[in-house]
Point group: C2
């Protein structure tokens, strides 16, 4: 006797949980399709070097890597953008641009499990390839927002940042106060550490890092203010000397177009650093405050991965939605998921009626009726109990005497009402 | 510059392939639901011992096994029945019986890739827990058959075998002609080898194995005839002295009930050995002859796994459908998959109309219109080319002069016809 459990940090889903997940899945897909996106899929396992070529350190540390029997280094995919780009390079390059693709898949991270953080988790996401015009980026962000709204989520916060602006600020400070050794690589390490701290929202950590580098208190405070500017005016004020006027203008235009797309509650958020090294330009995140600490349900933005895969500089942007957390947030908000369809239950009385019952079941299912039947040789009373437990809306009782007269009895399980009906008119009552 | 491919034996799916897969997926799910089955899901990774406890040798050899960073032995699931049973033991045990569950998931086998055999492949399957009455087993087999029929498959062959009858025959012969050493374990090894050969349909191998064991030519021929009996009369003739009268009667009853379920073309097939050690009793397979060598698209039957997981002897049966091969077979048969929905394409003329276009896109999508729009700042001519390439059914052209008058132009992409319509009546034309 062995009792074997599931691996730590993984989950099974009951029929009730799957009902909620599938309903959410359907709503989300429908919105992607309405925006002209078409579904693709990539393998669950990838060559490890797809993820090591340029990912955040943490992603690499948390990736399930293993060797197959030919000693090839494989990985359970930790995210879906690099695989989508690999697929694009292999097979979708010649598609008309812009190319809009979406996907729904499981990802894996070897992480400490907690509510809303699992070792296997699901993401629905998309990539927009071939355009970086403001209306394109605005449409992408609007899509993320509307997908979430269409699932039924009420309380979400969209925050939009800009990595070029953030980079310029950090570079500016580090060039004024270069680290002791001042080698270029040290500067890079310092910057990586600052970005990591920003990504973790560890603002005290950022301050300490600056102070340790000899940055003045004044400059540090100014940077922290920049980081927390929540409207476009503040961002512009702090970025006056950045030399990124074009980028600022584009950023402002995207935000303005988003309003036309029906997205009204937008915060600017310079502290969005994203966990992946290949992001650049406009980036965004969406939170569901009902989730508490692990509240981020969407992250995305512009990135550059194609050159690393041997491709050109075709613009790319995309986002990923945390499917598991979205379902959790809907539950927290008390969302009414569509109920499961109630079956009709068929109970033949006595063994002689069994063949007739099978044949009737076939006909009714052929007409699309969701039908369950006694498969245990139960008494009518026990069958009614079972029908009740599985939530049947009605029970058809097939007695031999009625059957000879071409009749069956239908019992309505909600009202308890019972009546005889003609077999050939039965489907009208179901 | 690195060019990174996908791992050997895995696949990417283009939007067109996904369209076919998702359409097939929908049809299949609908039938499971109509038979009263409800969906569950289990993790992609499992503890390795879930599969080593009692599986065929080959499955274990072909399983992707790896250690996580805590040295736990994990596996990419090679099949979905053992995980479903583990889940049942952990959480679904108290559900009313019979319990009907289905699932759709990816499985992995480290196998030589070829057409119809992939290292990552998809299965839709189900388990029926709590009854082994003839009508229950018949309903299960009918479900497999009807799921395949509803996908649109025309040419399929259902074959039904019986492992108890097969076992009894092999045991009978081996007890008459015990292997040289005659130790019990040798007998078991011999039997395993014979089952392996039967499962591989290597009938010459079976003969040679018997001859090598000293089985007479006459007995060998008789066994081969039994193995290839294709109707119930032959099976009964060869099993007269098996002492399995009850099982024979039940087997016959299942086949007879299947006809009531609308399954008319049934072959008996004593050579169904199944690749997994935990099968017993009635087993079945469905082939799609159009697929050639790798034609099996369904396998299932009765099995006993719960006692190995610390459970009792509750009857269990189920089957798995090879999703990838089903889609392949549909393609081979020339099935007309539902076409993808054609989008409406929106082209604003000039930058001034861009905001209006965004706002109009929002409204139309809000009404459920599948809409795509120019995100490249293209000329009308280029936009029409793109709209054509993505299969748009119509293009809305927003010119500033018309817009002032509350009008837009719609171009029907099939007929080429063009007309002006009022913006507020636009949705009626789409």
């Amino acid at each position: 006797m062995v009792a074997i459990g599931k691996p730590r940090g993984t989950r099974d889903f009951t029929p009730d949980e799957m009902r909620k997940r599938m309903a959410t899945d359907r709503e989300m897909r429908a919105v992607f399709e309405r925006y002209g996106y078409r579904e693709i899929a990539t393998p669950t396992i990838e060559n490890m070097n797809l993820f090591t070529m340029k990912s955040g350190k943490e992603i690499i540390e948390e990736t399930y890597a293993f060797e197959d029997k030919s000693k090839r280094k494989l990985a359970l995919r930790p995210e879906l953008t690099a695989p989508a780009m690999r697929f694009y390079m292999e097979k979708l390059r010649m598609s008309p641009k812009p190319l809009k693709i979406y996907y729904f898949g499981n990802c894996f991270r070897y992480d400490r499990p907690q509510k809303g953080r699992y070792r296997e988790f699901w993401q629905m996401g998309c990539e927009l390839i071939g355009t970086d015009r403001p209306e394109a980026i605005a449409e992408l962000i609007a899509l993320a927002y509307h997908v979430l709204k269409e699932t039924g989520l009420k309380d979400i916060n969209l925050r939009i940042g800009h990595l070029d602006l953030l980079n310029r600020q950090v570079d500016g400070i580090l060039s004024l106060f270069p680290p002791a050794g001042s080698a270029k690589s040290e500067n890079k390490d310092k910057k990586d550490e600052i970005f990591r701290l920003i990504d973790k929202k560890d603002y005290d950590g950022v301050k300490n890092e600056f102070i340790a580098s000899g940055v003045t208190k004044e400059k540090t405070t100014e940077f922290m203010d920049f980081l927390q500017s929540s409207n476009i005016q503040d961002v512009k004020k702090y970025s006056e000397e950045s030399g990124l006027d074009q980028e600022l203008k584009r950023y402002e235009e995207v935000i303005s177009l988003l309003k036309e797309f029906g997205v009204n509650t937008i915060e600017t958020a310079m502290e969005i650093a994203r966990g992946l090294d290949y992001y650049k330009g406009i980036v965004f995140e969406i939170d569901a405050p009902s989730l508490g600490a692990e509240k981020q349900i969407c992250g995305g933005g512009e990135y550059s991965l194609l050159p690393l895969l041997g491709g050109d500089n075709t613009p790319t942007a995309g986002f990923a939605l945390g499917f598991d957390r979205i379902v959790l947030a809907l539950e927290k908000e008390g969302y009414n998921f569509p109920p499961s369809k109630k079956p009709v239950y068929l109970h033949p009385i006595g063994d002689k009626m069994r063949k007739e019952a099978v044949s009737l079941a076939r006909k009714l299912r052929g007409r699309g009726v969701l039908l369950d039947m006694d498969l245990m040789g139960r008494s009518p009373q026990k069958s009614l109990q079972y029908a009740n437990r599985i939530g049947a809306k009605s029970v058809i009782i097939m007695g031999p005497d009625e059957w000879v007269r071409g009749m069956v009895t239908i019992k309505n399980m909600e009202t308890g009402e019972q009546k005889e009906v003609k077999v050939e008119k039965l489907h009208k009552f179901l």
